[in-house]
């Protein structure tokens, strides 16, 4: 018997719901609330059961049509690159500062998506971020931490 991807996802959701139910039961409520008709863990417990119920039905009932996804035509490589660039962006935004990390994030994203027009890529990274930062500071009065620009004396 071949198990479809939807059933595997449903099985994972069933396990997640079971774990959720277990964690909900572990929630420490106040002593005077333990026998109350409703406390902090009541709703999550119902949700755990509901998740297991719907996932269980999806696993047990036969599928109308098996959802076929042709993985060969999907561009996983580019998505993985983008996710790595975003994680890198998240890691550097506080340390390096908004201006440089955002500009590099945009530049790398354009490049990995196949763009090679360097002039446009540069315009839509460093100057674009500078204008965006100016609007944030000037128009919306939002302060952005940027150690690099502070070191250079551009922002206070």
């Amino acid at each position: 018997m071949k198990i479809s991807s939807v059933k595997i996802i449903s099985l994972l959701f069933f396990v997640l719901s079971a774990f959720y139910l277990y964690t909900a039961n572990q929630i420490q409520v106040f002593a005077f609330d333990v026998n109350s008709p409703f406390n902090a863990k009541t709703f999550p417990i119902y949700l755990g059961y509901a998740g297991m119920f719907f996932a269980g039905l999806q696993i047990l009932l036969p599928e109308k049509s098996v959802e076929k996804v042709n993985h060969n035509v999907l561009d996983y490589k580019k998505v993985i690159y983008l996710v790595i660039i975003m994680i890198f962006y998240g890691l550097t935004i506080l340390k390096v500062g908004f201006f440089l990390s955002t500009s590099i994030f945009l530049l790398l994203s354009y490049y990995f998506l196949g763009e090679r027009r360097w002039k446009l890529m540069l315009i839509f990274s460093f100057p674009f971020v500078a204008v965006f930062m100016f609007l944030l500071h000037g128009a919306l009065n939002i302060y952005l931490r940027d150690p690099l620009l502070k070191y250079l004396g551009i922002i206070g």
Binding site: I9, T23, I27, K64, Y76, V79, Y89, I93
Partner: protein, 498 residues
Amino acid sequence: MIEGILIGLNTALSLKNILMVVMGCFFGTIIGMLPGLGPMTAIALMIPITYGFDPATGLILMAGVYYGAVFGGSTSSILINAPGIPGTVATSFDGYPMAQQGKAGKALAIAAYSSFAGGTIAAIFLLFAAPSLSKISLSFRSPDYFALMILGLTAVAAFSSKGQFLKAMMMAVLGLMLACVGQDTLSDIPRFTFNNMNLSDGISFVLVVMATFAMSEALTIILRGTDPSSAAKAISLKELGSIKLDKDETKKTLKTIPRSSVIGFIVGVLPGAGSTIASFLAYGMERNFVNKEEKEKFGKGSVHGLAAPETANNAACSGSFVPLLTLGIPGSGTTAVMLGALLGFGIQPGPRLYMTNPEIFWSVIMSMYVGMVILLILNLPLIPYIARILAVPRTFLIPMILFFSVTGIYLMSFNTFDIFLMIGIAVVATGLRLYKFPMPPLILAFVLGGLMEENLRRSLLISDGSFNFLYDRPLTAIILAFTILIFSWQSYISLKSK
């Protein structure tokens, strides 16, 4: 009511709010024209900006984006048979054949006039329906609200899932599970935080919307290798033809508009139904209304066939504001995003909104009229030029969407943990999208989670832990009966086809 209308007009016609409507309509039209990116993405990207404004202005901006996106979606449906949003699929049935016959300009004009009329007529209905329903809904109690939320979730799951009801219900439960993360509102007891301080305040609503819509839609476009801007590139300024309608076309359009407006508005008010169902229903009904000769033209470039879905989908947009403004319960994923944004402003929509914040209530309704006029001005003469702007290559478009998503969430919390959490949720959502797990039920459930728990808490405490509250009040019992009906019907359809 007159006083309310004047308050609304005063707020809606302020220069700032008119600018917001123009901006919202313009931005919504652009996003709506891009296949794969819907109104929820457009609104999600706007939320961080709205927090810089007062609630009325913020909601006016989001409403402008909403009907702008529905309006814009029709353009790509007509010109290249690639509906920008599901609500404009029915538009392509007759709009695209008209464009192929060299009448693209006329098709766009019919779509623009119908959308304008549908939206405006529905806004008049809203003007009368919302205050009346607000007064009635003051008699609603916690059990009724709880039942209404269950009905809303079931209906959205049933209608948005296209035959995948169980998947949609799983998504709804997942949304409720995510909503429970963080401190319990009454006892402050931490739940599902796993001793992580970043989760003690719960997961931000904007984060979930950005991750499941803006970011995951962008990643899906890359994964599938599609180019949303190809739609814009295919639009030629020369091939549109005249936008002037002749007497016969005007007569046909005028005949269709009133009945499709009524259908669109009623369907829009119903929880979960929305513009997609409204447009298909109006298309089908219109086919039954016309004579045999006109019926033959359906699917081959019928004026009735184009005007009906276009009128209905815009009327449904206005209709979907009725449950949001009067009950505080959104009837669709898009209005759920708006509810979340309003809660972020510290405003609880519902029957009391009419009394406590009349300027918000009335200005949103009044801004709809302004929005419809602006859309008419935008859509008719400017569409080909807007389409040119859209011809941005995806190598620039996708990084920009990702940039606005990440920056949007970073600017709200200045916490990098939120960025990583958003990336994680977006990756999972992208995987789920591949296997047709719908996202609107997740968003609706996430927004309603807190309110649902609160109403269940009150109901159970009043009834001393007994579930009799589900049928003690006739209103609760009727709402739950509808829920059971939808659930049974969907289960029957699923089992029958299996």
